[in-house]
């Protein structure tokens, strides 16, 4: 589904991704862990098409297409979704309103007709239940005055509505209490299927108790330096990142 080869990306003069490679097959959940500054958020930003980053090398293929060539909206329409680490507030735009536009633009891209109001509302109700989010939040200005947990739940709600093929969760667990974490994880798990893949970027192992990954990768200094299964996450939780840093000292 997603094939990242030797990806290099910089912001300004600073190279952050220094040759990252990763392969994700349909249905797989990949966790990416790593210390602060390793390049985790840069990876999610580059995949979603944020223009602050310049890709200086490598390639990213998504479902056979060159992802890096696409505009952010085309990536979304092809099925990439990024749950933001810091969901922004947009006064005057309600979640309901912009999601309706988004869904219809995505459908248009795929040659489908607009979703009628009844079907849209039905879908909303269903997904609202999954992520335990209240209607009143969705008709308010996007994320304005939302708590941290509500913002993250809104991200997962949007993901549920857009039904992406590849969802990237960028530290969705940061700042969440245990109940919010469980709700967010439930939302993700409800979407898991043989055709949907996930990249779960996290600093802590905690989230992976709820979203059990197929693979765990350690990102350090702009590269994936270690890959394994969910046991690797437990090891990281126990030993911290220092041993990773130690192991890769020469590479720095």
């Amino acid at each position: 589904m997603l094939s990242i080869k030797n990806l290099k990306a910089s912001i300004g003069d600073k190279e952050i991704l220094k040759g990252l490679s990763l392969d994700i097959k349909p249905g797989e959940v990949h966790a990416i862990m790593g210390p602060n500054g390793a390049g985790k958020s840069t990876l999610s930003s580059v995949l979603a098409g944020r223009s602050d980053y310049e890709v200086t090398g490598g390639s990213v293929e998504f479902l056979g297409k060159d992802l890096l060539e696409m505009s952010p909206e085309d990536r979304a329409r092809e099925g990439v979704f990024l749950a933001f680490q810091y969901p922004i507030e947009i006064p005057g735009v309600s979640t309901t309103n912009f999601l309706k536009t988004a869904i219809n633009e995505i459908r248009k891209h795929r040659g489908q007709d607009n979703l009628d109001a009844v079907s849209f509302l039905k879908m909303m109700k269903e997904k609202m239940k999954t992520v335990e989010i209240d209607q009143s939040l969705l008709s308010r200005s996007l994320n304005e005055g939302f708590s941290g947990g509500e913002k993250k739940r809104n991200e997962v709600f949007q993901m549920a509505m857009l039904e992406p093929k590849l969802a990237i969760l960028d530290e969705t667990d940061s700042g969440l209490d245990i109940d919010a974490l469980r709700i967010v994880a439930n939302g993700v798990n409800a979407l898991r299927g043989k055709d949907n893949s996930f990249i779960v970027i996290t600093h802590y192992q905690r989230l992976l108790d709820y979203i059990v990954p197929d693979f765990v990768h350690v990102l350090y200094n702009g590269k994936i330096v270690k890959s394994g299964t969910k046991e690797l996450a437990l090891e990281l939780e126990e030993k911290g990142y220092d041993w990773i840093k130690e192991e890769n000292k020469e590479a720095v």
């Binding site: 098409g49 990536r75 969901p87 947009i90 912009f98 536009t101 988004a102 949007q158």
Partner: protein, 433 residues
């Protein structure tokens, strides 16, 4: 191509002293003032950024024909709810397209010329006409006063609530000729009355039009007035519109001024808070694109204590358009306990668009709360990225953000169909489907 002097000569030929002796004297003085001042040039501080001189060189006719059809009119109708409708084409009242539905008990609505034939109303007109507008240093207003012929006269008696909005359409018909028109309005709202007024400006044809309109509004004690001015003329339309408001004790005046299109548009909105406990709310939204120039000049004059004014003007500028916001607030010596707030925010959608903002506060009282703020910038890049990352095209993401930006101005429009209509026009302007 004609020249400014020819226009002034032609206007002089139109100048006739009509009406009672008091009105004659007002008009004569106003004409003398206009002749002395002439059309303002950019040397005049009030017109520093807004130059109408080139427009005065058009080959204007002052008595244009009217060829606006019902279909034309239907295409520009703004309000779907039941309303009193008065249509003026090139400054001349059009009976066929107009329809007054409110009863005479509720409100007296007539053309200014007709009202002057009613002795009771004539007395009121004589008392209020040209008493609030600036006929001393404002050449456009003096010209309007001198040549005032037709326009709308509204008088709401004490304690009356006009349940249906009064919608005034001023249409420039340039199918055949270049037109210069000067409608002149006078609205008198007596004690404890309520009414909603809409002024709409549109144009047809592709020739130059020049509209110099003055609306004087007097709002008596306890009256509550909503006033909406909507402009959507073509790229060859020059517009100077002056709305002069005088408010008495405990009255509320809410204004929303929306400018969508035109060549050069100047909106003057001047409010005098003339007794205690008055509230004035001034909202504005302007969305110029192409080469359009929009200039909003406002004066909020706190003459008496314990009054509140609140002003919010928002601009969205695209193409090579230019915008001006000049907001004066006076707080007179007596006007203690004044609350006066002013804010102007603009978004520039293109690198070639410009906004000039000038807040001007002159405070002579010492126990007041006044604030002003101005911001201008681009659409927030992070918000744009967020929406695009959900699948919205750049265009719809921009439109959505512009729409959101404009919403706290538009939300003050209480006629539902008018608000929807404007939202639709804004969406169209931003070319979203």
């Amino acid at each position: 191509m004609s020249n400014t002097a020819t226009l002034i000569d032609n206007l002089k030929a139109e100048f006739q002293l009509e009406g009672n002796s008091a009105l004659k004297s007002i008009k004569q003085t106003a004409w003398n003032t206009f002749e002395t001042l002439g059309f303002p040039t950019v040397k005049n501080e009030e017109f520093k950024y807004t130059n109408f001189i080139p427009a005065t060189k058009s080959n204007f006719t002052l008595q244009a024909k009217n060829s606006i059809s019902l279909a034309d009119f239907n295409s520009i109708e703004l309000v779907k709810e039941e309303a009193n409708v008065l249509v003026f084409v090139n400054g001349i009242f059009n009976t066929k397209l107009s329809n007054i539905i409110s009863s005479k008990e509720e409100v007296y609505i007539a053309t200014l010329a007709e009202a002057l034939t009613d002795s009771k109303e004539e007395a009121l007109i004589t008392q209020h006409f040209a008493q609030y507008s600036n006929n001393i240093s404002d050449a456009f207003t003096a010209l309007s006063t001198a040549l005032a012929k037709d326009g709308v006269y509204i008088h709401v008696a004490p304690n009356k609530v006009v349940s249906k909005p009064i919608v005034l359409y001023f249409i420039a018909d340039t199918y055949a000729e270049e037109v210069f028109s000067q409608p002149r309005n006078l609205f008198i709202f007596d004690k404890n009355s309520q009414a909603t007024i809409v002024e709409s400006f549109t144009s047809f044809g592709n020739k130059v039009s020049f509209n110099n309109i003055v609306t004087e509004i007097t709002v008596a004690k306890d009256a509550i007035i909503d006033y909406y001015k909507i402009q959507n003329e073509n790229e060859k339309a020059y517009h100077v519109g002056t709305t002069q408001v005088n408010q008495k004790g405990n009255s509320v005046f809410n204004a929303v001024t929306v400018t969508l299109n035109g060549a050069i548009v100047r909106n003057n909105l001047n409010v005098v808070l003339d007794e205690e406990h008055v509230e004035a709310n001034l909202f504005g939204l302007f969305l110029p694109s192409g080469n359009t120039h929009v200039d909003n000049h406002t004066i909020v004059d706190h003459a008496k204590p314990h009054c509140n004014s609140n002003e919010l003007y928002k601009g969205v500028l695209d193409g090579k358009s230019t915008g001006v916001f000049n907001g004066k607030i006076f707080v007179r010596k007596d006007a203690q306990k004044t609350n006066a707030f002013q804010s102007n925010k603009s978004i520039l959608l293109s690198d070639e668009a410009t906004i000039n903002t000038k807040p001007q506060l002159e405070i002579f009282a010492d126990d007041v709360k006044c604030s002003h703020g101005a911001t201008s910038g681009q659409l927030d890049a992070e918000s744009l990225f967020y929406l695009r990352s959900r699948g919205l095209s750049e265009k719809s993401a921009k439109a959505m953000l512009v729409y959101a930006f404009a919403s706290d101005v538009l939300s003050n429009i209480k006629i539902e169909s008018l608000k929807l209509n404007l939202e639709h026009k804004i969406a169209e302007k931003l070319a979203v489907n």
